[in-house]
């Protein structure tokens, strides 16, 4: 301890140490985050009016269908297969009419069966529970990785679809 520190009032002393701890912690946090493979950027995408939210800015907004009406038009055309990314329990409670269930957790268990039924040229529309849910995007990416060429994400998902009174089962 230096002579200068010895003369600090208790309040000034504790404040100085709090600041030291805070500065050290912030430096440590950002350093670890920078080098960590699971680190995240300092700013994420949290505005649902832009699209699906994400802490990592890894959402491909180019895949997104932003309006329920647009999704309904595709549904009415009968040219697309809707794929539900939510858990099986939620799918069983209710889903877009004719949608196929592929929960993310069991994707690799059922994807071969799915590919055998729907060729990779099929237009696929993935969805989950809305703009705060990233599963539809993750599912879309997995399907693209499996060779599907036409994949879109219906970002408002089942809740908005149901709210509009569109076909469910």
């Amino acid at each position: 301890m230096t002579g200068h520190e010895r003369h600090l009032s208790p309040f000034k002393d504790i404040t100085k140490k709090i600041i030291t701890l805070v500065v050290f912690t912030i430096t440590l946090a950002f350093t670890v985050n920078y080098f960590s493979p699971r680190g995240i950027p300092a700013f994420g995408e949290w505005d649902t009016s832009i699209g699906v939210i994400s802490p990592e800015k890894n959402v491909d907004h180019g895949l997104e269908i932003n309006y329920v009406v647009s999704a309904k038009k595709i549904f009415d055309s009968g040219k697309a297969v809707f794929v539900d990314a939510r858990m099986s329990e939620l799918y069983k409670e209710g889903h877009i009419k004719g949608a196929v269930s592929i929960p993310l957790t069991i994707f690799y268990d059922i994807i071969d069966d799915f590919i055998s039924k729907y060729p990779t040229s099929t237009l696929i529309i993935t969805y989950c529970s809305g703009r705060e849910c990233q599963d539809s995007h993750e599912l879309a990416q997995l399907l693209i990785d499996e060779g599907y060429e036409k994949v879109k994400v219906f970002i408002d998902g089942y809740p908005e679809w149901k709210k509009e009174g569109y076909p469910v089962e």
């Binding site: 301890m1 002393d13 504790i14 140490k17 709090i18 030291t20 701890l21 805070v22 050290f24 912690t25 912030i26 440590l28 946090a29 950002f30 670890v32 985050n33 960590s36 699971r38 680190g39 995240i40 950027p41 300092a42 700013f43 994420g44 949290w46 505005d47 939210i53 802490p55 990592e56 705060e132």
Partner: protein
Amino acid sequence: MNNIFDKMLNNSWVELILRCSLGILFIYSSTHKIINPAGFAKIIYGYYLFPHYFINIIAIVLPFMELVTGICLVLGVFPKPAAAIINGMLTLFIIILTINLIRGIEFDCGCLSFNTSGDFTHAGWVIARNFLLLLSGLYIMFFKKRRLFCLYRNS
């Protein structure tokens, strides 16, 4: 009776037990957040209280604040300032949880683990728990006797 109460309030062993317990709890609560900052950022978003610009920054810094202050308490390095920071965090947690309790929003507090089942702990219980922790933190912060097993007691 007063004498026993007084001894309890100024007992170095009580301080040591509270300091280590609170420290270990904060270290434990930081680990799942440090391992999964993206998941923690989503939890913070789920509170619907923070400006979007701060969500990731909170998710990056807060877990390390819990870790560092927790280690400080256990090792006895800057115990008083570390307890002051922990008390500040606990006060903020109580305020935030109370706001959401009043708003009636059902959410995952993300305090000690991330909930994946959708069965959320009631905010009232979490607030009560944080009050108890805050009492421990205040005891450590205002403890005036000699602290036991401190690497750097001079604080």
